[in-house]
Protein backbone atom coordinates (compact mmCIF):
# COMPACT_ATOMS: atom_id res chain seq x y z
CA UNK A 1 0.00 0.00 0.00
CA UNK A 2 1.21 3.49 -0.89
CA UNK A 3 0.27 6.83 0.63
CA UNK A 4 -0.65 7.95 -2.88
CA UNK A 5 -3.30 5.22 -2.96
CA UNK A 6 -4.62 6.26 0.44
CA UNK A 7 -5.01 9.84 -0.78
CA UNK A 8 -6.78 8.76 -3.94
CA UNK A 9 -9.04 6.51 -1.89
CA UNK A 10 -9.89 9.40 0.42
CA UNK A 11 -10.97 11.49 -2.55
CA UNK A 12 -13.05 8.68 -3.96
CA UNK A 13 -14.69 8.15 -0.61
CA UNK A 14 -15.44 11.85 -0.31
CA UNK A 15 -17.09 11.92 -3.73
CA UNK A 16 -19.07 8.84 -2.95
CA UNK A 17 -20.32 10.19 0.40
CA UNK A 18 -21.34 13.49 -1.20
CA UNK A 19 -23.11 11.63 -3.99
CA UNK A 20 -25.12 9.63 -1.45
CA UNK A 21 -26.31 12.53 0.66
CA UNK A 22 -29.99 11.80 0.52
CA UNK A 23 -29.59 8.05 1.08
CA UNK A 24 -27.39 8.42 4.14
CA UNK A 25 -29.44 11.23 5.50
CA UNK A 26 -32.76 9.42 5.20
CA UNK A 27 -31.42 6.23 6.70
CA UNK A 28 -30.27 8.04 9.84
CA UNK A 29 -33.47 10.04 9.95
CA UNK A 30 -35.49 6.85 9.86
CA UNK A 31 -33.85 4.99 12.71
CA UNK A 32 -31.39 7.49 14.15
CA UNK A 33 -31.05 11.23 14.57
CA UNK A 34 -30.36 12.35 11.02
CA UNK A 35 -26.77 13.47 11.34
CA UNK A 36 -24.85 10.53 9.89
CA UNK A 37 -24.44 12.06 6.44
CA UNK A 38 -23.18 15.36 7.79
CA UNK A 39 -20.82 13.55 10.17
CA UNK A 40 -19.36 11.47 7.34
CA UNK A 41 -19.12 14.47 5.05
CA UNK A 42 -17.32 16.50 7.70
CA UNK A 43 -14.89 13.62 8.19
CA UNK A 44 -14.27 13.04 4.48
CA UNK A 45 -13.78 16.71 3.71
CA UNK A 46 -11.29 17.13 6.52
CA UNK A 47 -9.18 14.20 5.33
CA UNK A 48 -9.10 15.42 1.74
CA UNK A 49 -8.07 18.87 2.97
CA UNK A 50 -5.19 17.18 4.78
CA UNK A 51 -3.62 16.04 1.48
CA UNK A 52 -0.51 18.24 1.68
CA UNK A 53 0.24 17.08 5.20
CA UNK A 54 -0.36 13.42 4.40
CA UNK A 55 1.58 13.23 1.13
CA UNK A 56 5.10 13.01 2.63
CA UNK A 57 4.08 10.41 5.23
CA UNK A 58 4.50 6.66 5.14
CA UNK A 59 1.20 4.75 4.67
CA UNK A 60 0.95 3.74 8.33
CA UNK A 61 1.73 7.29 9.47
CA UNK A 62 -0.87 8.64 7.08
CA UNK A 63 -3.51 6.22 8.33
CA UNK A 64 -2.71 7.07 11.93
CA UNK A 65 -2.97 10.76 11.21
CA UNK A 66 -6.28 10.16 9.44
CA UNK A 67 -7.55 8.27 12.49
CA UNK A 68 -6.52 11.01 14.88
CA UNK A 69 -8.03 13.67 12.68
CA UNK A 70 -11.31 11.78 12.37
CA UNK A 71 -11.39 11.38 16.13
CA UNK A 72 -11.48 15.15 16.62
CA UNK A 73 -13.69 15.85 13.62
CA UNK A 74 -16.59 13.44 13.29
CA UNK A 75 -17.96 13.00 16.78
CA UNK A 76 -21.10 10.93 17.28
CA UNK A 77 -20.89 7.15 17.36
CA UNK A 78 -19.17 6.82 14.01
CA UNK A 79 -16.29 9.16 14.92
CA UNK A 80 -14.51 7.18 17.62
CA UNK A 81 -15.25 3.91 15.80
CA UNK A 82 -13.77 4.94 12.47
CA UNK A 83 -10.90 6.66 14.25
CA UNK A 84 -10.15 3.47 16.18
CA UNK A 85 -10.25 1.54 12.92
CA UNK A 86 -7.61 3.68 11.22
CA UNK A 87 -5.34 4.01 14.23
CA UNK A 88 -5.33 0.25 14.83
CA UNK A 89 -4.85 -0.54 11.19
CA UNK A 90 -1.93 1.90 11.17
CA UNK A 91 -0.38 0.25 14.20
CA UNK A 92 -0.41 -3.22 12.64
CA UNK A 93 0.87 -1.91 9.32
CA UNK A 94 3.70 -0.20 11.13
CA UNK A 95 4.61 -3.37 13.00
CA UNK A 96 4.23 -5.88 10.14
CA UNK A 97 4.50 -3.78 7.01
CA UNK A 98 1.94 -3.73 4.18
CA UNK A 99 3.79 -5.30 1.31
CA UNK A 100 1.34 -8.17 0.71
CA UNK A 101 -2.38 -8.60 0.47
CA UNK A 102 -2.28 -10.83 3.49
CA UNK A 103 -0.60 -8.15 5.57
CA UNK A 104 -3.07 -5.51 4.43
CA UNK A 105 -5.95 -7.85 5.18
CA UNK A 106 -4.53 -8.52 8.64
CA UNK A 107 -4.23 -4.79 9.28
CA UNK A 108 -7.80 -4.28 8.09
CA UNK A 109 -8.95 -6.98 10.48
CA UNK A 110 -7.10 -5.34 13.33
CA UNK A 111 -8.97 -2.14 12.53
CA UNK A 112 -12.28 -3.97 12.66
CA UNK A 113 -11.25 -5.59 15.96
CA UNK A 114 -10.68 -2.11 17.37
CA UNK A 115 -14.22 -1.14 16.41
CA UNK A 116 -15.53 -4.26 18.11
CA UNK A 117 -13.64 -3.43 21.25
CA UNK A 118 -14.56 0.24 21.33
CA UNK A 119 -18.23 -0.26 20.58
CA UNK A 120 -18.67 -3.57 22.41
CA UNK A 121 -20.79 -4.78 19.51
CA UNK A 122 -20.52 -7.71 17.18
CA UNK A 123 -22.07 -9.07 14.03
CA UNK A 124 -25.86 -9.15 13.89
CA UNK A 125 -26.44 -6.06 16.02
CA UNK A 126 -27.41 -3.84 13.07
CA UNK A 127 -24.30 -1.68 12.92
CA UNK A 128 -21.43 -0.98 10.59
CA UNK A 129 -19.92 -4.22 11.86
CA UNK A 130 -22.38 -6.20 9.79
CA UNK A 131 -20.44 -4.93 6.81
CA UNK A 132 -16.96 -4.74 8.28
CA UNK A 133 -16.70 -8.16 9.94
CA UNK A 134 -17.68 -10.20 6.85
CA UNK A 135 -15.48 -8.01 4.66
CA UNK A 136 -12.51 -8.48 6.98
CA UNK A 137 -13.00 -12.25 7.06
CA UNK A 138 -13.44 -12.53 3.33
CA UNK A 139 -10.41 -10.30 2.72
CA UNK A 140 -8.20 -12.47 4.93
CA UNK A 141 -9.37 -15.66 3.24
CA UNK A 142 -9.00 -14.33 -0.30
CA UNK A 143 -5.61 -12.82 0.43
CA UNK A 144 -4.22 -16.30 1.16
CA UNK A 145 -5.95 -17.87 -1.85
CA UNK A 146 -5.31 -15.49 -4.69
CA UNK A 147 -3.20 -12.55 -5.75
CA UNK A 148 -5.76 -11.36 -8.28
CA UNK A 149 -6.63 -7.90 -6.87
CA UNK A 150 -9.55 -7.56 -9.24
CA UNK A 151 -11.08 -10.74 -8.01
CA UNK A 152 -10.53 -9.71 -4.39
CA UNK A 153 -12.01 -6.27 -5.01
CA UNK A 154 -15.09 -7.56 -6.77
CA UNK A 155 -15.69 -10.10 -4.07
CA UNK A 156 -15.36 -7.55 -1.25
CA UNK A 157 -17.78 -5.18 -2.98
CA UNK A 158 -20.31 -8.02 -3.00
CA UNK A 159 -19.64 -9.00 0.59
CA UNK A 160 -20.04 -5.41 1.74
CA UNK A 161 -23.27 -5.09 -0.12
CA UNK A 162 -24.66 -8.29 1.36
CA UNK A 163 -23.63 -7.17 4.84
CA UNK A 164 -25.26 -3.81 4.36
CA UNK A 165 -28.48 -5.39 3.10
CA UNK A 166 -28.48 -7.88 5.96
CA UNK A 167 -29.00 -5.06 8.44
CA UNK A 168 -32.41 -4.40 6.99
CA UNK A 169 -34.13 -7.28 8.72
CA UNK A 170 -32.34 -6.95 12.03
CA UNK A 171 -33.44 -5.52 15.35
CA UNK A 172 -30.75 -3.15 16.55
CA UNK A 173 -29.08 -4.02 19.83
CA UNK A 174 -26.34 -1.38 19.71
CA UNK A 175 -26.32 2.28 18.77
CA UNK A 176 -29.15 4.75 18.65
CA UNK A 177 -31.58 2.40 16.88
CA UNK A 178 -31.42 0.02 19.84
CA UNK A 179 -34.22 2.01 21.43
CA UNK A 180 -36.58 1.14 18.61
CA UNK A 181 -37.09 -2.56 19.11
CA UNK A 182 -39.16 -4.05 16.29
CA UNK A 183 -39.60 -0.68 14.65
CA UNK A 184 -36.04 -0.80 13.34
CA UNK A 185 -36.90 -3.74 11.13
CA UNK A 186 -37.13 -2.84 7.47
CA UNK A 187 -34.52 -0.11 7.65
CA UNK A 188 -30.88 -0.38 6.60
CA UNK A 189 -28.38 0.80 9.21
CA UNK A 190 -26.84 4.13 8.15
CA UNK A 191 -23.36 3.24 9.40
CA UNK A 192 -23.49 -0.07 7.53
CA UNK A 193 -24.46 1.80 4.40
CA UNK A 194 -21.64 4.33 4.65
CA UNK A 195 -19.09 1.58 5.34
CA UNK A 196 -20.35 -0.36 2.34
CA UNK A 197 -20.01 2.76 0.20
CA UNK A 198 -16.48 3.40 1.45
CA UNK A 199 -15.38 -0.18 0.78
CA UNK A 200 -16.91 -0.04 -2.68
CA UNK A 201 -15.09 3.24 -3.40
CA UNK A 202 -11.75 1.83 -2.44
CA UNK A 203 -12.29 -1.44 -4.30
CA UNK A 204 -13.38 0.39 -7.43
CA UNK A 205 -10.21 2.43 -7.28
CA UNK A 206 -8.27 -0.82 -7.31
CA UNK A 207 -10.34 -2.11 -10.22
CA UNK A 208 -9.80 1.05 -12.26
CA UNK A 209 -6.05 0.71 -12.17
Amino acid sequence: MHTEFILAAAKNIQQCILANESTLESLDREIGDGDHYINMKRGANTIVELEAELTPLKPDEALNKIGMKLLSTIGGASGPLLASFFMSMAKVLKENGGDSHAKIAAAFSAGVQAIIQRGKANIGEKTMLDVLIPVAQQFEILATQTSDVNLISKSLIRTAEQGMLSTKDLIATKGRAAGLGERAIGHIDPGAKSCQLMIESVCKLVLEK
Partner: protein, 334 residues
Protein backbone atom coordinates in the same frame (compact mmCIF):
# COMPACT_ATOMS: atom_id res chain seq x y z
CA UNK B 1 -37.14 24.98 7.29
CA UNK B 2 -37.34 28.50 8.66
CA UNK B 3 -34.84 29.34 11.34
CA UNK B 4 -32.84 32.30 12.53
CA UNK B 5 -29.55 31.25 10.98
CA UNK B 6 -26.99 32.69 8.64
CA UNK B 7 -25.11 29.63 7.51
CA UNK B 8 -25.84 26.16 8.83
CA UNK B 9 -22.14 25.59 9.34
CA UNK B 10 -21.77 28.58 11.67
CA UNK B 11 -24.90 28.24 13.74
CA UNK B 12 -23.12 26.58 16.64
CA UNK B 13 -20.27 29.05 17.00
CA UNK B 14 -22.52 32.07 16.52
CA UNK B 15 -24.95 30.78 19.10
CA UNK B 16 -22.21 29.90 21.59
CA UNK B 17 -20.71 33.35 21.10
CA UNK B 18 -24.05 34.95 21.87
CA UNK B 19 -24.41 32.75 24.92
CA UNK B 20 -20.96 33.64 26.19
CA UNK B 21 -21.58 37.34 25.56
CA UNK B 22 -24.94 37.29 27.32
CA UNK B 23 -23.48 35.45 30.31
CA UNK B 24 -19.95 36.79 30.46
CA UNK B 25 -20.23 36.97 34.25
CA UNK B 26 -20.74 33.20 34.35
CA UNK B 27 -18.91 31.54 31.48
CA UNK B 28 -15.93 31.76 29.21
CA UNK B 29 -16.01 30.35 25.69
CA UNK B 30 -13.04 28.58 24.15
CA UNK B 31 -13.04 27.76 20.46
CA UNK B 32 -11.30 25.04 18.40
CA UNK B 33 -11.81 22.81 20.15
CA UNK B 34 -15.07 24.20 21.51
CA UNK B 35 -15.75 24.16 25.21
CA UNK B 36 -17.04 26.51 27.87
CA UNK B 37 -15.78 26.93 31.40
CA UNK B 38 -16.83 28.94 34.39
CA UNK B 39 -15.69 32.55 34.10
CA UNK B 40 -13.87 32.08 37.38
CA UNK B 41 -12.11 28.80 37.87
CA UNK B 42 -13.21 26.97 41.00
CA UNK B 43 -10.58 25.59 43.38
CA UNK B 44 -10.43 22.63 45.72
CA UNK B 45 -13.21 20.68 44.22
CA UNK B 46 -13.83 17.85 41.83
CA UNK B 47 -14.21 19.35 38.37
CA UNK B 48 -17.62 18.47 36.93
CA UNK B 49 -17.69 18.32 33.16
CA UNK B 50 -20.58 17.46 30.90
CA UNK B 51 -21.22 17.70 27.22
CA UNK B 52 -23.08 16.22 24.33
CA UNK B 53 -24.53 17.13 21.01
CA UNK B 54 -25.94 20.65 20.71
CA UNK B 55 -29.61 21.33 20.18
CA UNK B 56 -30.66 20.53 23.76
CA UNK B 57 -30.13 24.02 25.12
CA UNK B 58 -29.88 25.09 27.89
CA UNK B 59 -28.26 21.67 28.42
CA UNK B 60 -25.27 21.73 29.08
CA UNK B 61 -23.67 25.17 28.83
CA UNK B 62 -26.64 26.75 30.60
CA UNK B 63 -25.71 24.76 33.69
CA UNK B 64 -22.15 26.02 34.04
CA UNK B 65 -21.57 27.95 37.23
CA UNK B 66 -21.51 27.77 40.98
CA UNK B 67 -23.20 24.65 42.28
CA UNK B 68 -23.34 22.81 38.99
CA UNK B 69 -20.87 22.34 36.11
CA UNK B 70 -17.29 23.53 35.74
CA UNK B 71 -17.24 23.03 32.00
CA UNK B 72 -19.35 21.85 29.09
CA UNK B 73 -18.34 20.44 25.71
CA UNK B 74 -20.91 21.10 22.99
CA UNK B 75 -20.79 18.89 19.91
CA UNK B 76 -22.35 19.73 16.58
CA UNK B 77 -26.13 19.62 16.57
CA UNK B 78 -27.19 16.18 17.86
CA UNK B 79 -23.63 14.87 17.48
CA UNK B 80 -21.49 13.99 20.46
CA UNK B 81 -18.44 16.15 21.06
CA UNK B 82 -14.98 14.77 20.31
CA UNK B 83 -12.38 13.69 22.90
CA UNK B 84 -10.09 16.67 22.28
CA UNK B 85 -12.84 18.96 23.57
CA UNK B 86 -13.13 16.98 26.79
CA UNK B 87 -9.36 16.85 27.22
CA UNK B 88 -8.93 20.59 26.81
CA UNK B 89 -11.90 21.33 29.06
CA UNK B 90 -10.52 19.01 31.75
CA UNK B 91 -7.11 20.62 31.43
CA UNK B 92 -8.70 24.03 31.94
CA UNK B 93 -10.87 23.30 34.95
CA UNK B 94 -9.36 20.45 36.93
CA UNK B 95 -8.27 21.50 40.40
CA UNK B 96 -6.30 18.51 41.67
CA UNK B 97 -9.32 16.66 42.99
CA UNK B 98 -10.04 14.78 39.80
CA UNK B 99 -12.57 15.15 37.04
CA UNK B 100 -16.08 13.75 36.91
CA UNK B 101 -17.69 13.42 33.51
CA UNK B 102 -21.48 13.39 33.36
CA UNK B 103 -22.45 11.68 30.14
CA UNK B 104 -25.83 10.88 28.65
CA UNK B 105 -25.99 7.23 27.68
CA UNK B 106 -25.72 7.25 23.88
CA UNK B 107 -23.17 5.14 22.02
CA UNK B 108 -21.52 8.24 20.58
CA UNK B 109 -21.29 10.18 23.81
CA UNK B 110 -20.12 7.16 25.73
CA UNK B 111 -17.34 6.32 23.31
CA UNK B 112 -16.07 9.86 22.86
CA UNK B 113 -16.02 10.52 26.59
CA UNK B 114 -14.47 7.09 27.17
CA UNK B 115 -11.61 7.84 24.81
CA UNK B 116 -11.08 11.20 26.49
CA UNK B 117 -11.09 9.50 29.90
CA UNK B 118 -8.51 6.97 28.74
CA UNK B 119 -6.21 9.73 27.51
CA UNK B 120 -6.70 12.02 30.49
CA UNK B 121 -3.52 12.32 32.55
CA UNK B 122 -5.36 12.64 35.85
CA UNK B 123 -7.88 10.88 38.05
CA UNK B 124 -11.36 10.77 36.61
CA UNK B 125 -14.66 8.97 36.73
CA UNK B 126 -17.86 9.02 34.73
CA UNK B 127 -21.54 9.05 35.64
CA UNK B 128 -23.69 7.74 32.82
CA UNK B 129 -27.23 9.07 32.90
CA UNK B 130 -29.91 6.72 31.64
CA UNK B 131 -33.24 7.95 32.91
CA UNK B 132 -35.29 7.44 29.73
CA UNK B 133 -37.65 4.60 30.50
CA UNK B 134 -39.04 4.65 26.96
CA UNK B 135 -36.25 2.24 26.14
CA UNK B 136 -36.90 -0.81 28.22
CA UNK B 137 -33.59 -2.23 29.31
CA UNK B 138 -33.97 -5.71 27.95
CA UNK B 139 -31.43 -8.04 26.45
CA UNK B 140 -31.68 -6.43 23.09
CA UNK B 141 -30.57 -2.93 23.99
CA UNK B 142 -27.42 -1.12 24.99
CA UNK B 143 -29.41 0.43 27.74
CA UNK B 144 -31.57 3.39 28.41
CA UNK B 145 -30.86 6.85 27.08
CA UNK B 146 -29.98 9.85 29.18
CA UNK B 147 -32.56 12.63 28.90
CA UNK B 148 -33.95 15.41 31.10
CA UNK B 149 -33.06 13.62 34.34
CA UNK B 150 -29.48 14.57 33.51
CA UNK B 151 -30.25 18.07 34.77
CA UNK B 152 -31.10 16.68 38.20
CA UNK B 153 -27.92 14.61 38.26
CA UNK B 154 -25.82 17.64 37.27
CA UNK B 155 -27.49 19.82 39.88
CA UNK B 156 -27.01 17.38 42.75
CA UNK B 157 -23.49 16.29 41.86
CA UNK B 158 -22.51 19.92 41.28
CA UNK B 159 -23.77 20.81 44.71
CA UNK B 160 -21.89 17.99 46.41
CA UNK B 161 -18.67 18.84 44.57
CA UNK B 162 -18.94 22.39 45.85
CA UNK B 163 -18.61 21.07 49.43
CA UNK B 164 -15.18 19.64 48.63
CA UNK B 165 -16.38 16.03 48.49
CA UNK B 166 -14.06 13.61 46.71
CA UNK B 167 -14.42 12.06 43.30
CA UNK B 168 -15.77 8.77 44.59
CA UNK B 169 -18.50 10.47 46.59
CA UNK B 170 -19.49 12.64 43.65
CA UNK B 171 -19.73 9.66 41.35
CA UNK B 172 -21.73 7.72 43.92
CA UNK B 173 -24.26 10.50 44.30
CA UNK B 174 -24.56 10.88 40.53
CA UNK B 175 -25.20 7.17 40.11
CA UNK B 176 -27.76 7.21 42.90
CA UNK B 177 -29.71 10.14 41.53
CA UNK B 178 -29.68 8.57 38.09
CA UNK B 179 -30.97 5.32 39.46
CA UNK B 180 -33.80 7.02 41.33
CA UNK B 181 -34.93 8.90 38.24
CA UNK B 182 -37.15 7.91 35.34
CA UNK B 183 -38.32 9.94 32.35
CA UNK B 184 -40.49 9.54 29.31
CA UNK B 185 -41.10 11.91 26.42
CA UNK B 186 -43.92 12.60 24.00
CA UNK B 187 -43.58 14.38 20.67
CA UNK B 188 -46.35 16.18 18.83
CA UNK B 189 -44.09 17.35 16.01
CA UNK B 190 -40.64 16.50 14.78
CA UNK B 191 -37.58 18.64 15.21
CA UNK B 192 -35.65 19.88 12.19
CA UNK B 193 -31.88 19.54 12.26
CA UNK B 194 -30.53 22.68 10.53
CA UNK B 195 -28.07 20.82 8.33
CA UNK B 196 -30.77 18.39 7.23
CA UNK B 197 -33.21 21.19 6.53
CA UNK B 198 -36.26 18.98 6.93
CA UNK B 199 -38.13 17.33 9.78
CA UNK B 200 -36.47 14.19 11.15
CA UNK B 201 -39.74 12.30 11.09
CA UNK B 202 -43.17 12.72 9.60
CA UNK B 203 -46.11 12.87 11.93
CA UNK B 204 -49.57 14.02 11.08
CA UNK B 205 -52.13 16.17 12.79
CA UNK B 206 -53.83 13.25 14.51
CA UNK B 207 -50.79 11.38 15.80
CA UNK B 208 -48.33 11.55 18.65
CA UNK B 209 -45.12 9.68 19.29
CA UNK B 210 -44.77 8.18 22.76
CA UNK B 211 -41.30 7.54 24.11
CA UNK B 212 -39.56 9.82 21.65
CA UNK B 213 -35.87 10.56 22.19
CA UNK B 214 -34.44 14.04 22.54
CA UNK B 215 -32.95 13.80 19.06
CA UNK B 216 -36.26 12.96 17.49
CA UNK B 217 -35.51 9.25 17.55
CA UNK B 218 -38.75 7.31 17.17
CA UNK B 219 -40.21 6.14 20.46
CA UNK B 220 -42.17 3.20 21.81
CA UNK B 221 -45.09 3.65 19.54
CA UNK B 222 -47.09 5.96 17.35
CA UNK B 223 -50.54 6.67 18.72
CA UNK B 224 -53.65 8.61 17.97
CA UNK B 225 -53.58 12.08 19.47
CA UNK B 226 -55.61 12.15 22.65
CA UNK B 227 -56.44 14.52 25.43
CA UNK B 228 -53.66 15.64 27.74
CA UNK B 229 -54.85 13.72 30.79
CA UNK B 230 -54.75 10.42 28.92
CA UNK B 231 -51.31 11.06 27.48
CA UNK B 232 -49.97 12.10 30.87
CA UNK B 233 -51.64 9.09 32.44
CA UNK B 234 -49.76 6.76 30.12
CA UNK B 235 -46.48 8.51 30.88
CA UNK B 236 -47.02 8.30 34.61
CA UNK B 237 -47.76 4.63 34.29
CA UNK B 238 -44.65 4.04 32.21
CA UNK B 239 -42.56 5.68 34.91
CA UNK B 240 -44.13 3.69 37.73
CA UNK B 241 -43.76 0.45 35.80
CA UNK B 242 -40.15 1.29 35.16
CA UNK B 243 -39.40 1.67 38.86
CA UNK B 244 -41.07 -1.67 39.47
CA UNK B 245 -39.11 -3.39 36.71
CA UNK B 246 -35.93 -2.01 38.16
CA UNK B 247 -36.95 -3.26 41.59
CA UNK B 248 -37.24 0.19 43.11
CA UNK B 249 -40.16 0.37 45.49
CA UNK B 250 -40.98 3.84 46.74
CA UNK B 251 -42.50 3.98 50.20
CA UNK B 252 -45.89 5.49 50.76
CA UNK B 253 -45.70 9.31 50.87
CA UNK B 254 -42.35 9.07 49.17
CA UNK B 255 -41.15 12.57 48.40
CA UNK B 256 -40.37 13.18 44.76
CA UNK B 257 -39.24 15.87 42.37
CA UNK B 258 -41.45 16.24 39.32
CA UNK B 259 -39.84 17.78 36.26
CA UNK B 260 -41.96 18.71 33.25
CA UNK B 261 -39.55 19.46 30.47
CA UNK B 262 -40.52 21.19 27.23
CA UNK B 263 -38.83 20.01 24.05
CA UNK B 264 -38.60 23.49 22.59
CA UNK B 265 -41.84 24.45 20.89
CA UNK B 266 -44.41 23.71 23.55
CA UNK B 267 -45.76 26.73 25.43
CA UNK B 268 -45.33 27.03 29.20
CA UNK B 269 -49.10 27.11 29.45
CA UNK B 270 -49.27 23.51 28.27
CA UNK B 271 -46.30 22.43 30.39
CA UNK B 272 -48.04 23.68 33.52
CA UNK B 273 -51.21 21.92 32.48
CA UNK B 274 -49.19 18.70 32.17
CA UNK B 275 -47.65 19.37 35.57
CA UNK B 276 -51.10 19.77 37.04
CA UNK B 277 -52.25 16.38 35.81
CA UNK B 278 -49.00 14.55 36.48
CA UNK B 279 -48.77 15.87 40.04
CA UNK B 280 -52.34 14.80 40.68
CA UNK B 281 -51.73 11.29 39.32
CA UNK B 282 -48.50 10.81 41.26
CA UNK B 283 -50.27 12.00 44.39
CA UNK B 284 -52.94 9.38 43.85
CA UNK B 285 -50.17 6.81 43.63
CA UNK B 286 -48.94 7.83 47.06
CA UNK B 287 -46.14 10.23 46.15
CA UNK B 288 -45.63 13.62 47.67
CA UNK B 289 -44.41 16.00 44.99
CA UNK B 290 -42.31 18.25 47.19
CA UNK B 291 -40.01 19.68 44.51
CA UNK B 292 -40.81 20.74 40.98
CA UNK B 293 -39.30 22.17 37.85
CA UNK B 294 -41.31 23.20 34.78
CA UNK B 295 -39.84 24.64 31.62
CA UNK B 296 -37.46 24.03 28.74
CA UNK B 297 -34.48 22.34 30.37
CA UNK B 298 -33.47 19.60 27.92
CA UNK B 299 -34.80 20.44 24.52
CA UNK B 300 -34.80 18.86 21.09
CA UNK B 301 -34.39 21.96 18.93
CA UNK B 302 -37.87 23.01 17.79
CA UNK B 303 -39.77 19.84 18.61
CA UNK B 304 -43.23 20.29 20.12
CA UNK B 305 -43.65 17.91 22.99
CA UNK B 306 -42.60 17.38 26.55
CA UNK B 307 -41.11 14.85 28.88
CA UNK B 308 -42.08 13.89 32.39
CA UNK B 309 -39.38 13.02 34.89
CA UNK B 310 -39.83 11.73 38.41
CA UNK B 311 -36.89 11.65 40.79
CA UNK B 312 -37.33 9.91 44.12
CA UNK B 313 -35.97 12.10 46.87
CA UNK B 314 -34.13 11.31 50.05
CA UNK B 315 -32.54 13.75 52.47
CA UNK B 316 -29.24 13.79 50.64
CA UNK B 317 -30.73 14.42 47.19
CA UNK B 318 -33.10 17.03 48.61
CA UNK B 319 -30.25 18.88 50.26
CA UNK B 320 -28.28 19.00 47.04
CA UNK B 321 -31.27 19.95 44.93
CA UNK B 322 -32.12 22.82 47.27
CA UNK B 323 -28.60 24.16 47.67
CA UNK B 324 -27.64 27.39 45.89
CA UNK B 325 -27.01 27.26 42.16
CA UNK B 326 -25.94 30.10 39.96
CA UNK B 327 -26.01 29.28 36.26
CA UNK B 328 -27.61 30.78 33.17
CA UNK B 329 -30.55 28.40 33.21
CA UNK B 330 -30.96 27.38 36.84
CA UNK B 331 -30.52 29.87 39.61
CA UNK B 332 -31.54 30.01 43.21
CA UNK B 333 -30.20 30.59 46.67
CA UNK B 334 -27.18 32.84 47.17
Amino acid sequence: MKKFINNVDNILVESLSGFAKAHSDLVELHLEPNFLTRANKAQNKVAIISGGGSGHEPLHAGYIGYGMLDAACPGHVFTSPTPDQMLMAAEAVHADKGVLFIVKNYAGDVMNFEMAAEMLPFENATVLTSDDCAVINSTYTTGRRGVAGTVIVEKCVGSLAETGADLKACKALGDKVNKQTASIGVALTSCTVPTAGRPTFDINESELEIGVGIHGEPGRRREAMREADEIVGDCVEAILTDFKIRDIHPTNKHEALLLINGFGATPLMELYLIFNTAAKLFNLQGFEISRSLVGNYTTALDMAGASITLCLLDDEIKQHWDSPVHTAALRWGK
